[in-house]
């Protein structure tokens, strides 16, 4: 549907290639001065949303990130990949540690309703906490159907067919929009942002 708006959540996490170190007081891992980037599964979600827009099945891709001001870097990456707008829900550094799936789902729920999104695309889990909860909680709060661990997504009219990777193999379900879908590894291969696109985010 050319009127469909996709809301894509993107999380800023410690870069996958960094060797993690535990803080001396054992309260967590060292994040100061450590390289961060967009959660790889969120990249896959952004890529899928942009592909849907290129196929003219989605009208607008809105990227959202919750956290301190550095989240704007992550939003910039999403814009460079092809998202139309970025929304930064600012959470001060001091409170950011207590931000978890429950809080983020509440934010996404409110934004999905405010922005009148018909599709919420998320990564299946973040590589720092591995919670695998935000997508499911958001769907429950919105009372929308959910297609998690998606390895294939097909939009047709007001339905979305999702092929899911589950423990027993592959499962195909069909959801009526609006719906929440979480991206798994094999959904797509995210594009590199091009220089013109990166310059355009300035």
């Amino acid at each position: 549907m050319a009127e469909l708006r996709a809301l894509v959540g993107v999380k800023r996490v410690i870069d996958y290639a960094v060797k993690i170190r535990v803080k001396p007081d054992k309260t967590g891992v060292v994040t100061d001065g450590v390289k961060h980037s967009m959660n790889p599964f969120c990249e896959i979600a952004v890529e899928e949303a942009v592909r849907l827009k290129e196929k003219k099945l989605v009208k607008e891709v809105i990227a959202v990130s919750c956290g301190p001001k550095q989240c704007q870097e992550t939003l910039r990456t999403a814009l460079a990949m092809g998202a139309d707008r970025g929304i930064h829900v600012e959470v001060p550094e001091s409170e950011a540690e207590r931000l978890g799936p429950l809080q983020v789902s509440r934010v996404l729920t409110a934004l999905a309703q405010k922005e009148k999104a018909g599709l919420v695309l998320l990564g299946k889990q973040a590589i720092d906490d591995d919670c695998n909860q935000t997508g499911q909680m958001t769907a429950a709060m919105l009372d929308w159907p959910q297609g998690t661990f998606a390895s294939k997504l097909t939009l047709e009219g007001d339905k979305v067919t999702v092929e899911r990777e589950i423990d027993g193999g592959l499962e195909t379900i069909r959801l009526k929009l609006p719906a929440v879908v979480t991206a798994d590894l094999r959904l797509n291969e995210p594009r590199y942002a091009t220089l013109p696109n990166i310059m355009g985010t300035n």
Partner: protein, 415 residues
């Protein structure tokens, strides 16, 4: 979950368990704070540096050994790079370029060179050629030649050196005699990177009398009768790019293909080289950065005399020296790049100093990293030897480091 089928994410997760054999793809993105190449850059620069690093580690590093050993010219990979805007980085956007600064270009080449130094060096030469046409060509030439070069649908080569004129470039002898609407070219060029594969040859030739003012710059297209190539040279490094002599025998080139005015050719060639020197030095930087990361990882992993090599003070100090010289080289290059893009009067001297310093230091760093690897460093299974071989020639071409000293001393001693 670790099924390595397609998906670059799968490759990322796989490389976390990589062995010594893997090039520095994973750890180059990590934090090694003092040598982090993103320090001092703005947000946008960090963004495209990240893209360049990702491209290098995913599209180039896994294949750099094969490209070297089989002497493959990685056309498809370079075209993918061009799609991201790396084909005409500092070329104006109305002809397909990315219209970025010299500093931006240096950052990008440095990152790409960690994936394959030889291929990145060729990409930088290509960029230099497109810029020359963009800057000095007329509108018709810009719109004819630049777009397919920016997309790397076509490749370009820079032809200045001859068998009889290397450092003494001004003494070149390839002649171009005007006959009607054409120049008839006779002569040969040596050591041309991309020779035989490129579609566009930027040839500096003599249209007038002796000296620099007699030299003009012509675009010769592949397939022109009278244009032929020598054998593919067998080299110590830079094996992912073919190097051949370019032979011109009564080769007729339209006068419309002349870039700039008659007699302007040497100036155009030298202006191209100023940027080219920063670019090639940036490639050395990438090789050295990757080598330092590889050395560091090896020192942590390898044990002798009951402890990791990293506990040995000599090696700790050696690594510190390598890192210090790496950062010094990087600062010189970036400083020179800024001077060039601001068209400062000291730009030429700074570019020469940066090229001289960085190519020498970075080769030494790569070589020292190889030494730290012990016997393993000498095996082609390990990437460090390729960084050594590829960066060696940077001390020789684009103006040898001896010529750099000539330019610097001339600047110091001029009245």
């Amino acid at each position: 979950m670790l099924r390595l089928c397609g998906g670059r994410l799968a490759a990322q997760l796989g490389s976390l368990h990589g062995s010594l054999q893997k090039p520095a793809c994973g750890s180059v993105r990590g934090v090694l704070s003092c040598i982090d190449p993103s320090l001092g850059l703005n947000d946008v620069q960090k963004e495209f540096q990240k893209v360049a690093f990702d491209f290098a580690s995913r599209e180039m590093a896994p294949q750099m050994a094969e490209w070297d050993q089989k002497e493959l010219f990685p056309v498809e990979t370079m075209r993918k790079a061009a799609q991201l805007g790396f084909g005409g980085i500092y070329v104006r956007s109305d002809v397909g370029g990315s219209e970025l600064s010299r500093l931006d270009a240096s950052v990008i080449f440095e990152a790409l060179a960690t994936g394959c130094t030889s291929t990145t060096a060729y990409i930088s030469i290509h960029n230099m050629c497109v810029w020359m046409i963009d800057s000095f060509g007329n509108e018709e030439q810009r719109h004819k030649f630049c777009p397919p070069l920016c997309s790397m649908e076509k490749f370009a080569s820079y032809c200045l050196t001859e068998p009889g004129s290397g450092s003494d470039a001004v003494s070149l002898m390839t002649s171009a005699k005007q006959q009607g609407d054409n120049y008839i070219l006779n002569g040969s060029k040596a050591f041309i990177s991309g020779g035989g594969e490129s579609d566009i040859y930027i040839v500096m030739c003599r249209t007038g009398g002796p000296g620099p003012k007699g030299i003009s710059c012509l675009v010769v297209e592949k397939g022109t009768p009278g244009l032929s190539f020598g054998k593919k040279e067998k080299k110590v490094g830079w094996n992912s790019q073919p190097t051949r002599a370019v032979i011109l025998e009564d080769c007729a080139v339209p006068v419309a293909n002349r870039i700039g005015n008659e007699g302007q050719g040497f100036l155009i060639a030298m202006k191209g080289l100023n940027g080219g020197r920063i670019n090639v030095a940036s490639c050395s930087l990438g090789a050295a950065h990757a080598s330092v990361v590889l050395a560091r990882d090896h020192l942590i992993l390898r044990k002798q005399f009951g402890e990791p090599l990293a506990n040995n003070q000599y090696l700790q100090f050696k690594l510190a020296d390598m890192a210090t010289r790496l950062v010094a080289s990087r600062l010189m290059i970036r400083n020179a790049a800024v001077a060039l893009q601001e068209e400062r009067e000291d730009a030429v001297a700074l570019c020469s100093m940066a090229k001289l310093f960085a190519t020498d230091e970075c080769f030494t760093i790569c070589n020292q990293s190889l030494q730290m690897h012990g016997g393993y460093g000498y095996l082609k299974d390990y990437a460090v030897q390729q960084f050594v071989r590829d960066s060696r020639v940077h001390q020789i071409l684009e103006g040898s480091n001896e010529v750099m000293r000539m330019l610097i001393s001339r600047n110091l001693l001029q009245e």
